[in-house]
Amino acid sequence: MKLRLVLWGLAIALLVALPPLAIALGQTYYIDLVRRMLILSIAAISLNLILGYGGLVSFGHAAYLGVGAYSVGIMAFYGASAGWLQWPLAVGASALVAAAIGAVSIRTSGIYFIMITLAFTQMLYYLGLSLAEFGGDDGMRLKARSQFSGLVDLGDPVAFYYVALLLMLLSVVLVYRIVNSRFGMVLRAAKSNDARTRAIGFSPYFYRLAAFVLAGAMCGLAGALYANHTNYITPGLMSWQQSGDLMFMVILGGMASTAGPVLGTFALLLIEEVLKGWTEHWQVVLGPLLVLSVIFFKRGLAGMFWKPDA
């Protein structure tokens, strides 16, 4: 346990030190890169809640990245660029969509659940494509970054970086508390043994739905951040390739572990960066790498260091 805290401390220290270091070395590109990793980590952390701890193989989690991003984008489009308004709305909208999709999907299980979550995300993707007013297939530029009444300027790459870092750490803490709370225990129990959980008096449906909504909301926040990061919002953010990527971030890092999703996100995006440097056809290498990782590397990175939580 002590070792974990030490490692976390080190990691946080490194992340905090990165921007000044990068500036000093003249490599400001890395601030951007790591910021992207931090933002997507939040999405992976949210997915880990329902996938790693809840056992819900949601193949449509990227939908909430899209809902969050479009919430910010659409509001900015109509001139409402106050972050204080946009971001809660992004979170709220994602929660609502998650509630709707979850209510129907969680009544099924197994392969049906996987296909249904995928189908609903695809539906949202098509919805995004068809909204010609917001760019349709091409997507739209973010008219203005989210404003926070002068408190912080997201246009400043370093300030934005620290905002992302802070939110990522908050997400880690939040999910950690949730999975070890009474609620989290029921969720994990239901994943471990559904019949036994019913037999002692819990109805797993409601706990799973609540977790699904929480995860969707958190991912919506990541979407809002992402829109500000890329300054561009496309339906591709909701594509199933993006959902698959998120799942890999969770798996590679190690499911049902606190550090897992962060490790996985950094690892996957780092691998992509390296591969992109070699060839434009990097996916032809990444694909088989992913296949091999699933076949041989089940426990994930966190699993290499310590056993995952029960």
Binding site: V104, M123, E133, Q241, H281, G287
Partner: protein, 305 residues
């Protein structure tokens, strides 16, 4: 919106449904009997389409090209099964989803490397290029009729095999209770290989038929695959009959929706609103349908379990 137009779109819907069926039949059997989620099924569809384009061009003969494409897809499917899928039979669905997702990335990039990212166009021999006259007075492409004929014939053959032959009996038993069939001394390995091979061939067939109508490009498999999932969810896992019924329903609803929802809406609400809402709603139609079916029958219409 004339009746002739409606009928034409109905035919289009049937034709699309038939193609969905070819994909769905293989996938639902693999799911039902081998309990295996194979996202790379869409890649086999894509491979079929690309091979058809390449081989027809190379041999200069439509039939040779098509036959070779079918064979080629079968071989690719077998190779994928041996190299990657065998290791996944006993893994949980999550692992299968992730691993086959990796396969999709691989195949999409591979075809981009060989043929580029742009769309390829498949050509048709002269005798498939014409139109026939419908009783409604409008004209309908011969090729689409050919697809209907091939697809329905395949459905008929599948129906015969599944319900009237010993192999089909094993298939149905396996879809219902895999372990039992194995315990009865049936060569499960062989059954798996046959089922998977048939599935791959059907996907290839759908792909090579799709070429001339839809664009042949990287990622084409995934677009149809998700709709195939909807078909299977509606029809029920493991049921070929469910795949056919589901496919026809999805094909017809989707096609008619895209064609007529906007004008129908425009007559009910204001035209500008219909302009915006129409296409959006049309694209969501089959997913809403899926949600409705699930609400009433969580295991699909004809689930074998």
């Amino acid at each position: 919106m004339t009746w002739g137009l409606v009928f034409e779109q109905l035919l289009n819907g049937l034709q699309y449904g038939v193609m969905l069926f070819l994909m769905a039949a293989g996938l639902t059997l693999v799911l039902g009997i081998m309990n295996m989620v194979n996202l790379a099924h869409g890649s086999l569809y894509m491979v079929g389409a690309y091979l058809a384009v390449a081989l027809t061009g190379w041999t200069g003969n439509y039939f040779a090209g098509v036959a070779l494409a079918l064979l080629g897809t079968l071989l690719v499917g077998m190779a994928v099964e041996v190299v990657a899928l065998r290791a996944l039979y006993h893994r949980d669905h999550l692992d299968q989803v992730l691993a086959t997702f990796g396969l999709i990335l691989f195949f999409n990039e591979l075809v981009s490397m060989i043929w580029g990212r742009g769309a390829q166009y498949a050509s048709l021999p002269g005798w498939l290029q014409g139109h026939i006259d419908l009783f409604t007075g409008s004209r309908y492409p011969v090729y689409r009729v050919a697809i209907l004929v091939v697809g329905l014939s395949t459905a008929l053959i599948l129906w015969y095999v599944v319900t009237r032959t010993r192999l089909g009996m094993l298939v149905r038993a396996g879809a219902s209770n895999r372990t039992m069939v194995g315990a009865l001394g049936v060569n499960i390995r062989l059954l798996y290989t046959v089922v998977f091979g048939v599935g791959a061939a059907l996907a290839g067939l759908a792909g090579l038929m799709a070429g001339p109508i839809y664009a042949v490009q990287p990622g084409m498999g995934e677009l149809i695959l998700i709709q195939v999932f909807v078909v299977i969810v509606i029809g029920g896992i493991g049921s070929v009959r469910g795949a056919l019924v589901g496919a026809i329903i999805v094909g017809v609803v989707d096609t008619l929706g895209r064609a007529f929802l906007k004008p129908v809406l425009a007559s009910v609400i204001s035209p500008p609103a219909a302009e915006a809402a129409g296409p959006a709603l049309a694209s969501m139609l089959i997913y809403l349908l899926m949600a409705v079916v699930l609400a009433m029958r969580p295991a699909g219409l004809f689930s074998s379990r």
